[in-house]
Amino acid sequence: MFVAKKRPDDKRNIFHGLKKVCDCDVNRTVRWQEGVWRSLQWTKLEPATTYKDSLTIMDLNPSLRAHTPAESSRSFFADLLVVGALLAILFGSLEVGREWEHPFQASVEIHLSPWWLPYYTLLSFSRGVVAYGISLLFTLLYARWAAYDRNAERFLIPILDVLQSVPFPAFLAPLELLLIHLVPNSVIGLELTCILVIFTGQVWNMTFSFYYSLKNLPDDFAFVGRLARFTGWQKFTQIEIPFATKGLVYNSMVSMAGGWFFLTVIESFSMGSEHFRLPGIGSYMVVAQEKGDGWAQLYAVVAMILMIVVVDQLIWRPLIVWSNKFKIEDTESEFQDTSAVLRWLNRSKVALWLHDWFKQRLQQSVSAKTSTATLISKPKQRIQIPWRFLLIIVGLVSVLIGAYHLFLLLAEVRLSEWLMIAGHLVLTLIRVLAALFLSTLWTVPVGVWIGSNPKWARFLMPITQIAASFPAPMIFPNIVFLICLIGGNHSLEWGSILLMMLGPQWYILFNVISGASAIPQDLRACTQLTHLVGWQRWRTLFLPGIFPSLVTGWITAAGGAWNASIVSEYTTGMQDQPLKATGLGSTISQALADNNLSLLAAAVMAMAFFVVFFNRAVWKRLAVIARERYQLLT
């Protein structure tokens, strides 16, 4: 019935387990189930071999063996590193925990000595990690609900689409007020606000990724789970998570980078006359810029880059290499990611021991569950229905209350203000499009060049990744200073386009590179042999070839540019007085600074709905054209 089309010689192949189930005696289901479960252990770390064979030394080619003695010491070093890393994590968390105990203080003093920087960086990083944890939890729950509940799916996915387009940093201030009142006299309210805003910068693409993974789960896998009588939890951990891991890990990396974007804004901001400041690398930078301390600014930038590089090397790279194991397709790509850290971890006996210990715990809990849950096959009592019902009721009520308050707020907005919002919307739209145009202008030739030269791509990709992860608003004031030097105080009207480009342009570059590297060699050869040169070659080969990727890049970049308009149209130069460009972004920021909630709500809503409308009207159509006309796959 099932054809084992995957690697037949892989012992832990999922179909191997299925076959056992099919062949087995019914009475022994439990044992087989165990076997299936074991055969589904995607994450197995093999212990060192016990093979004790005679050491026949017949050195045929000693030169080949020069590196073997190093291996045992490598394992020792690996152990040392792992233990060191564990201790570092422990003390780091303790340090961060202490920070949370501080009594409430709206604006802490920031020390500009570089010795404080590691501490500040650690604090900022921990905010990102906590926000990521919430994002992951949200993703797993929300995407699963949307994927399996057809009724809910119909509104959950559009909601996600709208939420994705809302510029959440605009809600920083109202959220702040709310949380400070909820958790008075503690810094926790402030921290939570910060974390929530980072969360809104991380979560959406992760949720979409997990949702699509679940939707694309091949039926065969679901059947295997059903035949092996998996519980819901087993299905989740053994089938769904492994299948979605690759997309989830990649999107987590992107999300983590995206979360830093507003770091300077969220760690240090003012509303009306009140100033809020949390210790962190973002506020360090803000203070350094206010005081005009050039060295401190440089330190902050270096610390930020270091953090990005370290996180990439210690967390994302190993995770990505590890997640390649969950690749469903059989083909092995030419470029294989490598990670030194993962190799070391694999060598370390401590890591192996920890892994086995955790796995055993997990295994015991699952076995316990299976024996009670599935064997005594009592009719399922559907107790989850009231839960869902309750959830919907609660959701509806809160939506209604929210809508009522929103209506009250919006009723205060005058017609002249609505007209102003409309006008500013057009101005910001022009800036966003200009930013996309300028980004495209440089990224297309550069991206095609990099994509056509695999050697350079291997070298340049990590660098562009770091550039993309760097939160551009950190250096906005410095760039604004330069812009003002060149064009005077009103130059932000055009200068904000440059600021807007800084982050999103990288999305376009990445997509162009991947599009260009996917152009088949034969098509390139064909243009060479028909002697097409210069513009002819671009017109027939490169531009149509990268078009689908370019559209994807544009869509992502446009979303980023709209969000960035809040900080790039309204920013502090090197002086106290904020610099403004006329546009919706600055309207939002101004309303925030003036504590004008009704105007803020109106402007944010206008932006969110326009972005969704623009996505539907322009980007989705372009994407359809790209798919139908310019897709390279035959």
């Binding site: 212990p47 071999t49 064979d53 080619n61 590196h67 073997t68 194991k325 192996l352 027939t540 897709q631």
Partner: protein
């Protein structure tokens, strides 16, 4: 035949080609290739996979530069893309966003013709390849055969001096390929088609004999010219005629010889001990799966059978089939006296054994091969009783400079897994000796055994 006054269209002189530089990538694909393409020649490049057929064609067209040697076009060294070449690709290489008409007219993009002349040419060509009425279609609407006609039309419209075709029919089904092959034969004979010489890559012997005037038989690892066989049969050729069959048989014999008996450049010359000259030296594993080898053993008998007849009977592509036989011979399951193949003693034993004993037998047979013995020793001598993929690939690179180490590595692991010789954990990229795994044992106790 070459006229004394005009220089040959293309000459390849002393061409060497290496691919890749890093460890695990480097490999010599071509060695000392010398070829001359004269006017009115139809040349077939024929050989087993991995002999660099397509690479030769790409060097000849100037798409890639050889590592060593000279390419001459009309007597002058070639710099950049060959101006006299048009190419037909195995996978068509049509631009999916251009219509059939636009795809074909790409060939005239940079010609000196005016619009009207271009139009005339287009109509002539589209009629010649039988694509009338398809001008406005997009490539994705066409069947494979029709797509390849577009590819051929795009090449023909350039009026090239040499028309290069890289396995033009191998992505098509048998019937379509047959039709298109006949038409290429017709077009090649048609003076109106506009090209002077045709050179094509194929692994199909019948195709080569049907179309070519000169058949270049290539040997692999590294790719080199084995023999150039002239084909004097008059056109149109009849595949059923005795003369045709005889030529096919002759080429079969050359190929068989080059794959199965011409050992010196394939094997590693390093150690063949004096006491035991029979011992197989380091020989690379042919790119064949265990399943294919076993399948072959199951169909064979003890009395010798003609390799060619067997390939026909099993409907196997001849050069692929030769690699399977070569693999079986390496393992000592079959022997190949002359142009025939028969089971050895161990082959017979293998054929009659059940799965468990087959594995045991294969275990011993593979251990007799130096390459497996080598890595077995390496594993035993390493402190953790396992070696990394990197180490294996480094060794393979040194032992077989003419092979692609990564493919060889996959081969090695695949065979060793069947024979329960080594196990390889892809996730940690570690090779070790195989042990039976116990399903019920918890990992902690295994750890204790390992002395952790």
């Amino acid at each position: 035949m070459p006229e004394p006054t005009t220089p040959p269209i293309v000459e390849l002189i002393g061409i060497d080609m290496h691919f890749g530089e890093g460890a695990g990538e480097s490999m010599k694909v071509l060695e000392d290739i010398n070829l001359t393409v004269n006017e009115h020649d139809v040349m077939a490049l024929l050989g087993p996979s991995g002999c660099g057929k397509s690479t030769i064609m790409r060097i000849l067209s100037g798409l890639i530069r050889p590592s060593r040697g000279i390419v001459k076009f009309r007597g002058k060294p070639l710099d950049g893309v060959n101006p006299g070449v048009a190419m037909v690709f195995q996978n068509f290489a049509l631009f999916p966003w251009l219509s059939v008409r636009e795809n074909i007219l790409l060939g005239l993009e940079n010609s000196t013709y005016n619009l009207e002349e271009k139009e005339q040419h287009f109509h002539k060509i589209i009629e010649m390849v039988g694509l009338d009425g398809y001008g406005d279609a997009l490539p994705k609407e066409l069947s494979g055969g029709m797509k390849q006609r577009v590819g051929i039309a795009r090449a023909l419209i350039m009026e090239p001096q040499i028309l290069c075709m890289d396995e033009p029919f191998s992505a098509l089904d048998v019937l379509t390929a047959e039709t298109l092959r006949n038409e290429i034969g017709r077009i090649a004979m048609d003076p109106a088609s506009g090209f002077k010489s045709l050179i094509f890559v194929t692994h199909n012997i019948g195709e080569a004999v049907y179309l070519a005037r000169n058949i270049v038989v290539l040997a692999a690892h590294p790719g080199r010219v084995q023999k150039i066989v002239p084909n004097p049969l008059p056109y149109p050729r009849d595949p059923a005629s005795p003369a045709f069959q005889q030529l096919v048989a002759q080429i079969h014999a050359i190929l068989t010889n080059s794959v199965l008996h011409d050992e010196p450049s394939i094997t590693e010359p390093e150690i063949v001990t004096a006491e035991n000259p029979e011992e197989v030296a380091y020989a690379p594993l042919p790119n064949v799966t265990m399943g294919e080898v076993i399948g072959l053993v199951q169909t064979l008998r003890t009395e010798p059978e003609s390799i060619f007849a067997l390939a026909t009977r099993l409907k196997k592509d001849f050069s692929t089939f030769l690699s399977v036989i070569k693999a079986a011979e390496l393992i000592d399951l079959v022997e190949t006296p002359g142009q025939t193949v028969r089971l050895t003693k161990s082959g017979v034993a293998f054929q009659q054994a059940d799965i468990k004993h087959r594995k045991l037998l294969m275990h011993d047979l593979l251990l007799a091969l130096k390459i497996f013995k080598h890595f077995g020793d390496r594993i035993d001598q390493s402190p953790d009783k396992e070696i990394t993929e990197e180490d294996v690939i480094n060794d393979l690179t040194q032992l077989f400079p003419n092979e692609r180490p990564k493919i060889l590595f996959r081969q090695l692991v695949g065979w060793a897994r069947y024979a329960e010789l080594f196990s390889f954990d892809t996730r940690h990229a570690m090779l070790k000796r195989f042990e039976k795994e116990y399903l019920g044992k918890p990992p902690a106790s295994r750890l204790k055994e390992a002395g952790v």
